[in-house]
Amino acid sequence: MAGYVIRRLLWLPLILLIVSFFTFCIARFGPGDPVSVAAGQIRDEAILQQIREDRGLDGSIFEQYLRWGQGAIRGDFGESLQQRGFTVSEVIFPRMWVSAQLGFIALILVFGLGILFGLIAAWANGSWIDPLIISVLLFLQAIPILVVIPPLLWLFAVQLNLLPVGGWDGLIDIWWIKGVIAIPIPDPHLYIPLVAFSLPGIAGVARLMRISALEVQNEDYIRTARSKGLSEPDIAIKHVLPNSLLPIVTVFGFALASIIEGAFFVETLLGIPGIGRFVFEAVGSRDYDVILATTVIFSTVFVVMNLIVELIYGFIDPRVRLGDTR
């Protein structure tokens, strides 16, 4: 087992190499370059060309990549072009942190509610509750995020003035009662993004949970358990739940890994300084160093998460022995 983990982790540097080189090439070969974008409306080709050369944007792709790689290994990802005078790390980590916070809470919400509703629906299978739950959730999922946010904003921020119109203020806010008692509550800036974020996800998880649970319910060993006289809730919790969680585990792992990617639309529409929006702007400005740094980080997280998910799999269901060939 330990050997398996190590072997998998050895892939990581290779994957990072491939991914970073590939991204590097694509960025460089595509149209547009950061010097040109940074130049503003006064553009003199001779000047821009010299700057490109001085920056090393003109050499062979391998030279350039090597230069970047040497820095990256030491943790120096270069300097940001959109925020001059700051290193890439200084610029992306705070934003990743913001996105991670938001994403994490949304994740808990989505999976918590999703698993709950999915189980209820599966348990209520046959009655009208099951289709009702699923239909409502699916309807909520069907609303595109760009359509969800403006009405929410209008209602709560503009009309009722209950919530702020955008921005970010951390996770916890203090609610003062009579200026004396302080109660920590989730920060109001969170509510609309969370709703926008979570709505689509819950349905997906619930459906998966439901179908998986229904699948498992008809298994032999469940029937055996029933015939042995175990009570329904007992069966549900001890037998159905763990086995039906398997597909959820995959999805959860994937979702967890992607929270550091941020959510572009939510961040842009609600003015949240997250990484999703920043990466978009980096791509637009051809801020190569930011793009590469974020790609490498995301890649690492994905690979590690993939590994963890597979390990959990093998753990839960011993029949699925990893690394075994048939």
């Binding site: 892939w11 994957i15 491939i18 991914v19 590939f22 991204t23 694509i26 960025a27 595509g30 149209p31 289709p131 699923i134 239909s135 699916l138 309807f139 999922q141 069907a142 609303i143 595109p144 760009l146 359509v147 946010i149 403006p150 009405p151 904003l153 209008w154 921020a157 503009v158 009309q159 119109v165 459906r207 179908i211 229904l214 699948e215 398997l246 597909p247 585990v249 995959t250 999805v251 994937f254 572009f264 529409l269 978009f280 791509v283 637009g284 793009i291 974020t294 790609t295 995301f298 890649s299 994905f302 690979v303 993939n306 799999y313 269901d317 029949r319 699925v320 075994d324 060939t325 048939r326």
Partner: protein, 319 residues
């Protein structure tokens, strides 16, 4: 569940004809599913026959009658340039139809499922290879890829199609946007098959250790038969879920792509373009119909796909 379904002893088919009829009957019984199907057909149908159905052209502007709410002349109101919202919605449905065609043709629907099945069943080095490649692809910055592919490849493809149009009697291909959608989805499918593949693979991994599979192999059944006849049915529900999610998500993808300027160009109508005009809290406050009209239609479309997928699953697994 795998044992309940589908495999008739006499045939190698996944689901025999008799079974399909049964499934269809069960599906028909589900009212909600039928309504969904009808809605989908209406929306796509309107798109297909857009020039016949739409009361106005989608470009016809009337600058004096902009931003009006629903009226007798304009059932769904007008947009900022005075274009009829109903007509633009119909043509947007057409765009969605085109995008759907592009997605189907590009193979995005099946590639993830196929690779997942392969990886899960075969295991060993094939599994490792597919998963590792998947990791590489899923970490690549999709957005960057999208923009660059559209800018470089997209241009070439469009110019190629333009040349084709000029030299043959075909026309209107470029402006329909199918060329750029096809390019984009073919490229995107390179990156997005991973999620589906993982889900399918994990299910297959779980299933292949089951007794009936082992029994079948012991009996000397060929891998092909095992995959198609024994494995696939049990994974079918997941596959259907994935396909219905993808198809349903097409309208959503189109909106996203519109944001980045990919796909049909203005003034061609698309739900993405219409939604953008209406997005924004204050715009919503002043002219809610700009957002509600396309928003509701897209919601209905996505919702219908999802319900249909669910119902189909239920019908197949005879619940």
């Amino acid at each position: 569940m795998g044992e309940n379904i589908a495999i008739t002893p006499e045939s190698n088919e996944l689901i025999s004809n008799n079974e399909w009829v049964l499934i269809w009957r069960r599906l028909r019984a589900k009212k909600l599913a039928m309504i969904s199907l009808v809605l989908i057909i209406i929306i796509y149908g309107a798109g297909l026959f857009a020039p016949l159905v739409a009361p106005y052209s989608y470009t016809e502007t009337n600058l004096d009658r902009g931003l009006e709410g629903p009226s007798r002349d304009h059932w769904l109101g007008t947009d900022r340039l005075g274009r009829d919202m109903l007509s633009r919605s119909i043509y947007s449905a057409r765009t969605t139809l085109i995008v759907t065609t592009a997605v189907v043709v590009s193979g995005s629907l099946i590639i993830g499922n196929v690779l997942g099945l392969l990886a899960g069943y075969k295991g060993g080095w094939i599994d490792s290879l597919i998963m590792r490649i998947g990791e590489v692809f899923s970490s690549l910055p999709g957005l960057l890829m999208l923009i660059l592919i559209n800018a470089t490849l997209g241009e070439r493809v469009i110019n190629g199609v333009r040349w084709f149009e000029a030299h043959t009697f075909f026309s209107g291909i470029v402006s329909s946007g199918i060329a750029s959608y096809l390019t984009v989805f073919a490229a995107l499918s390179l990156f997005f098959w991973v999620g589906t593949a993982r889900i399918i693979r994990s299910q297959v991994l779980q299933l292949r250790e089951r007794e009936f599979i082992i029994a079948a192999e012991a009996l000397g059944a060929s891998p092909r038969r095992i995959i198609f006849v024994h494995l696939l049915p049990s994974v079918l529900f997941l596959i259907i879920l994935q396909i219905s999610a993808t198809l349903g998500g097409i309208a959503g993808s189109e909106i996203l792509l519109s944001w980045f300027g990919v796909g049909v160009q203005p003034p061609a109508a698309s739900f993405g373009a219409m939604i953008f005009q209406g997005s924004g809290a204050r715009t919503f406050q002043a002219h809610p119909h700009l957002l509600l009209v396309p928003g509701l239609i897209v919601t209905i479309l996505l919702f219908s796909f999802a319900l249909l997928g669910d119902a189909l699953n239920d019908a197949i697994s005879s619940r």
